[in-house]
Symmetry: none
Subunit: 402 residues, 2 copies
Amino acid sequence: MLPTDELRALAQVTPSKILLLVLDGLGGLPDPRTGRTELETARTPNMDRLAAESICGMQHTVSPGITPGSAPGHLALFGYDPAVCQLGRGIVEALGLDIEVERGDVVARGNFCTVDDTGRITDRRAGRIPSELNHELCDLLNEQVSLEGIDVSFFSGKEHRFVIRLRGEGLSQEVADTDPQHEGMKALAAKPLEPDAERTAGLVDSLVEQAHTLLKDRHPANMVLLRGFSKHPDYPSMQDIYRLSPACIATYPMYRGVARVVGMDILPAGETLEDQLAALRADYDNHDFFFLHYKKTDARGEDGDFEAKVKAIEAFDAFVPSVLEPGFDVVIVTGDHSTPAVLAMHSWHPIPVLLRGRYCRPDRVHEFSESACLPGGLGHIHAMELMPLAMANALKLNKFGA
Amino acid sequence: MLPTDELRALAQVTPSKILLLVLDGLGGLPDPRTGRTELETARTPNMDRLAAESICGMQHTVSPGITPGSAPGHLALFGYDPAVCQLGRGIVEALGLDIEVERGDVVARGNFCTVDDTGRITDRRAGRIPSELNHELCDLLNEQVSLEGIDVSFFSGKEHRFVIRLRGEGLSQEVADTDPQHEGMKALAAKPLEPDAERTAGLVDSLVEQAHTLLKDRHPANMVLLRGFSKHPDYPSMQDIYRLSPACIATYPMYRGVARVVGMDILPAGETLEDQLAALRADYDNHDFFFLHYKKTDARGEDGDFEAKVKAIEAFDAFVPSVLEPGFDVVIVTGDHSTPAVLAMHSWHPIPVLLRGRYCRPDRVHEFSESACLPGGLGHIHAMELMPLAMANALKLNKFGA
């Protein structure tokens, strides 16, 4: 793909509008009883009609055989090379909790865990304590832990998970995990991975020591483990690269977080497709790129519930005419990865994709599904190539070279 | 793709001959009334027969979504990575005017423009003065402008356009444009982009000042703007990489220029397909690689004239049996980009390609068109991969690795 600097030089502002519809975990595998995937089983008259008007194909979010997490999956769809633009575990967790992260902050993912009298870890997840207890412990730590010259905050997640955020001058993310990832070992000292990280590592050690003291009578949650120290990434924004005014309409914080990382405006998305549609209508005039995220396909796939994933796809399909109604010059429908119900997890299988625009060269695909899109006109592409294609089809990309 | 150094190590000289037929701007989009592209509308019995004997597919000159100019389009077809091998605007313009450019020369594209009494630009194109006046002004500048130790030449282009060529020791291309690209501003001083370019920038400033003085009573062409300072690129030649003896048969200077950049011999191509065929026959024994360029498909596409592009394709098709008659071991037919008549400009759409050779694995494609080539055996490839394929099919490429 053309380097970012070259793309930037080609992008131009026009009134045309692009809509990117992402059905999370869209791709599937056949139900052994029918030989049809979730998408092939679902009745999707609206997406089928769209496919007939579109150029279709298959896309890999990373590359063949690679199962992407949600962050690389979406970064690729936004035009970023997911092998280059990697988000640390701490920042992904923070984005998923809607935590405000400023440039310069360092965040990390934490676990409450159980250690014995000698400090050896006996349960890395502290028996998956209830989230309410997690809240209580984070309140305690927020009240009592203090670091010189640094704001430290603990944010509760689910069960044993939390996020720490360090805010202050001169912090470094180059600190190794204190979580040894094995039971029977002691928590590791925070090791600086470069000389500039020595102070931050010392602050982390102090934080862990204070937490250990404060939690010592809180068995099973009597210690903390930290990993994935990371800062807010410094990628060029979609405004900068594509000269777009992009907006995100996502009901889950994780996806809003990744969208925020690439500079999208975060619209109030509510909790349902109806809420998302209302947000799209309300802000239609203010943006020229809309990313609308639908979570249920992935959630039902992760549950291993084939029928429920089929129903989630059908529910989305019923909503398609309304979402297209305001009018878009380019529409893309795809997923960020596959989540086959038979695997009950993210997978590496390529994802069907359709692109509709006035200047797409239509192919013979008349159905939106894995098998139907296979011989489509887009061929097999990388997800990160979709943004240049969307831009081209919206006539927002000038000629490269004389 | 295998790096150039690796390819070079595999290439061997054999008597086999390769013919690359480029129909400029070949790819199209459907006529809304028929649903068929220009190529699908044209009667092309000869290329269809060739497609049936060939392996077919689709190629991207740069990457999905990117609309290439003619220079990157052709460099890719010649096996060069167009994202890496970029030609400056000055050198492309010089090549297009058949100007002799030696290594070490610096060329730039010039505009005659109009400035007011305060030096502000009121018309960047000087009202598109007649080309005859342009010639007269370039003659004046060639006579009167002088730079110490440097040969400076002005070459007329069409209307307001010209090219300057600086020839001498120690010149640098790292000089910023003097053209601010906006009216209402003054021409910029030539800014050196690296310390070594200071002398060249000074020479450019002196040149512009002399021109301004000489032109001051020549309203509307009373000033010059320069951009795209560039040298002849220093790419390895096709002889060097592929051990070929390549020849170019092109009726337009631009394509001869790009062919010259990669080391091709430029055969006298005349003005018509008949002239080109005569050149091919005359030099058949002297080369083992022939690039034959056909311009009309692009020109009619740029005109937005669907029917005329169809006719241009049919005219080329009628000529195919004669051009194949001398005998070639490998024949490739493709374009350097799409120029759909409905867009009336270069576009990003992939281009059909066929490759015929004794050892190609034929597919089920029996027609040379965008939709017919889509499921072809070549799949979707990058144009720069065609040269290794041509070499392989001509049995000119040894095994890679033990």
